[in-house]
Symmetry: C2
Subunit: 293 residues, 2 copies
C-alpha cells in the first residue's frame, strides 16, 4: 500500500501526517521549528523527526521515509533559494515544497474556488480560481501586513504617544497603554527598539475588545484595519459563488466586522493546513490522482 | 576675562565654541561622535577634544577648561541617567547638559517666543512661551516621527508593495521604486529587515520631488506628511506674533507646503544649535546674566 506525507512547518514548530494515497491519515507527529531562512539544517532535522513520529504513530517502519513522497508547506518557501537547498537534503522519495499559504488554502477551501485571508501577527492572502493562484501581501510588518496584529499593536503605540503629546484625544485604551508603560514615553521607545512582530501583536486583541465597548481610539484602529483588509480582498473580486475563509489568530475578531458582501461568502475552513498538505500529497502522488474528501 | 563654552553634540560628531560672557565667539573646535547612550566615555573624550581645539583656536591655554563652565546640547540627554553620568566625568567647572532640541530652539528663536520643528530623518518639536518649554514628539520612526524622512520612505515602500500587489494604483514614483528593487518584493522585504531610519529617509527628497511634478503616489504621501506636521504644530496654538522655525534636512521642502497660517510666522533660524548653546552659556554664566544679541 502506498503512503504519502503531509508536512506543515513554520517558525514555532512543524507537524507531519502520514496518510494513504486516498488522503486518510494513519499517523501524526510533531517537531521543532522549521525556519528554513534562519536554520536550514535544523529545519530539515525537525521535519524528519516529525515524519518519523508519524510513521511510528501509524505503526509503520520509519525506514519507509526514503520511499515516501511528501508535500511540505513551509513559511518563507517563496524567498530566495532556501526551497531548493532544503529539497536537496530532505530524505523523502519526492519533496514538493510549497509556501505555507498554499497548504492553508488547500485545507480551507478544498475543491472550492475562493480566497483565504490569514489574519494573525502578519497578514497574507491567497486566492484560487480555476486552478490559478493569486497571492497578495505577506511582506512583513515594517512595510506591509496591513490589518495584522503587529500593525495594529504598532499603531496603538503610536496613538498612545500622540495622546501623551496631546496631539490627539485619548481614551480608556490609551490610558491603559500609558499606565502599562509607566506614563513614560521613553519606556515605549525602549520597547520598540527591539520589538518583534509578536511583541506588537500581543496588543491587538485588546484593541478589538475596547473597540467593541465603544472606545474611540480602539474603534479608529479597528476601522482602519478592517478597511485595509477589505481593500486587499477587493483585488480578488470574489463572486457570490466563491468562498472566503479567514484564518489566523484574529480571524474570529475580524469575521463579524467585515461588510455584508464578505460575510455572505465566508465559510469556516474545511481542514487545517496540515490537512491541506495531506490532500495535496494524496492528489499529486496517489495512483488515481484523487482522494480529496 | 571670563570664558564660557557652548557644545553641540550628536551621533555623527560634536562641535565646541569658546566665547566671552557676552556671547562673542573666540574659537571653535570639532570632535567625534557624542552618543551618550551608546558610548559615554567616548562621548566625553570627543567633547573634551572639541573644547580643547576651541581653546587652541582662540589662542588660549586648554588648561583653562577646568575653570570654564559649559552648556552642552546633546541628543538623548533626556533619556535615563546618561546625563547625570556624563556630568560626573566632564572636566568643565560647571556642565549644564540639555537636550539638543533646546539649544536648537535657543539658536533659532533667540529671545522670541515660538516653536521649532526639526524635520529631518526624524521629527521633534519644541515650543517656548514666556520661558515655558513644551516638547513634542521625537520618539523614533517605529511608533513616532510622523512627517519624518524615515516615515515618508517607509510609507513609500509600503505603497510600492501595495502597487505591486495591485491593491492600489501606481505612478512614476512607484515604478521607479519597483525598478530599484528589481521588481521583486522580496528585495524590499530584505531591505526592510535591517533598515535604519536613514535608510528609509534617503527616499524622502524623491517623494517631494515627484509630488511637485504631480505624481499621485508622491502627492498622497506628501499631503499626509504635511497634515501630520500641521496636526502636531496645532498643539502649540502659535500666535501671529510668535515665530516658527523649520530646521533639519527637510525644512526647505516642507516650508512652501505648510498652510498660510504657518508660512506667515515662519522665520529662518537666527543662529544654529551651537550658537544657541553659546548664548545659553553666556546668559547663564555671564556676570550680568545677559549678552544675548
Amino acid at each position: 500500500m502506498d503512503l504519502v506525507l503531509g508536512i506543515d512547518g513554520g517558525g514555532t514548530g512543524c507537524r507531519a501526517a502520514l496518510a494513504t494515497t486516498t488522503g486518510d491519515i494513519l499517523g501524526r507527529g510533531r517537531g521543532g521549528p522549521a525556519n528554513i531562512r534562519t536554520d536550514l539544517a535544523g529545519a530539515c532535522n525537525n521535519i524528519v523527526d516529525a515524519a518519523r513520529q508519524a510513521f511510528e504513530d501509524a505503526g509503520r517502519d520509519p525506514a519507509l521515509i526514503a520511499s515516501t513522497p511528501a508535500v511540505l508547506g513551509l513559511a518563507g518557501a517563496n524567498v530566495g533559494d532556501y526551497k531548493q537547498r532544503l529539497i536537496a537534503i530532505l530524505p523523502f522519495s519526492q519533496s514538493d515544497v510549497e509556501n505555507d499559504s498554499l497548504i492553508s488554502l488547500e485545507g480551507a477551501l478544498g475543491e472550492h474556488d475562493g480566497a483565504i485571508a490569514a489574519l494573525g501577527t502578519g497578514t497574507v492572502y491567497l486566492a484560487r480560481r480555476h486552478g490559478q493562484l493569486r497571492p497578495v501581501g505577506g511582506w512583513g510588518f515594517q512595510v506591509g501586513d496591513l490589518g495584522s496584529g503587529a500593525r495594529m499593536g504598532r499603531d496603538l503605540l503610536q496613538e498612545t504617544l500622540l495622546v501623551y503629546d496631546k496631539v490627539r484625544a485619548g481614551s480608556t485604551l490609551s490610558d491603559i497603554m500609558l499606565e502599562r508603560f509607566n506614563h513614560d514615553p521613553s519606556d515605549i521607545v525602549e520597547f520598540t527598539t527591539n520589538a518583534k512582530p509578536g511583541d506588537y501583536g500581543q496588543f491587538a486583541p485588546m484593541v478589538f475588545e475596547h473597540a467593541a465597548k465603544g472606545d474611540v481610539v480602539g474603534q479608529k484602529l479597528v476601522e482602519r484595519a478592517v478597511a485595509d483588509v477589505e481593500e486587499t480582498l477587493a483585488v480578488f473580486d470574489l463572486a457570490p459563488t466563491e468562498r472566503l475563509c479567514l484564518l489566523g489568530g484574529l480571524a474570529g475578531l475580524y469575521a463579524p466586522l467585515l461588510s455584508k458582501r464578505y460575510r455572505a461568502i465566508m465559510h469556516p475552513p474545511l481542514q487545517d493546513a496540515l490537512g491541506g498538505a495531506v490532500q495535496m500529497a494524496a492528489k499529486r502522488f496517489g495512483k488515481a490522482g484523487g482522494g480529496h474528501g
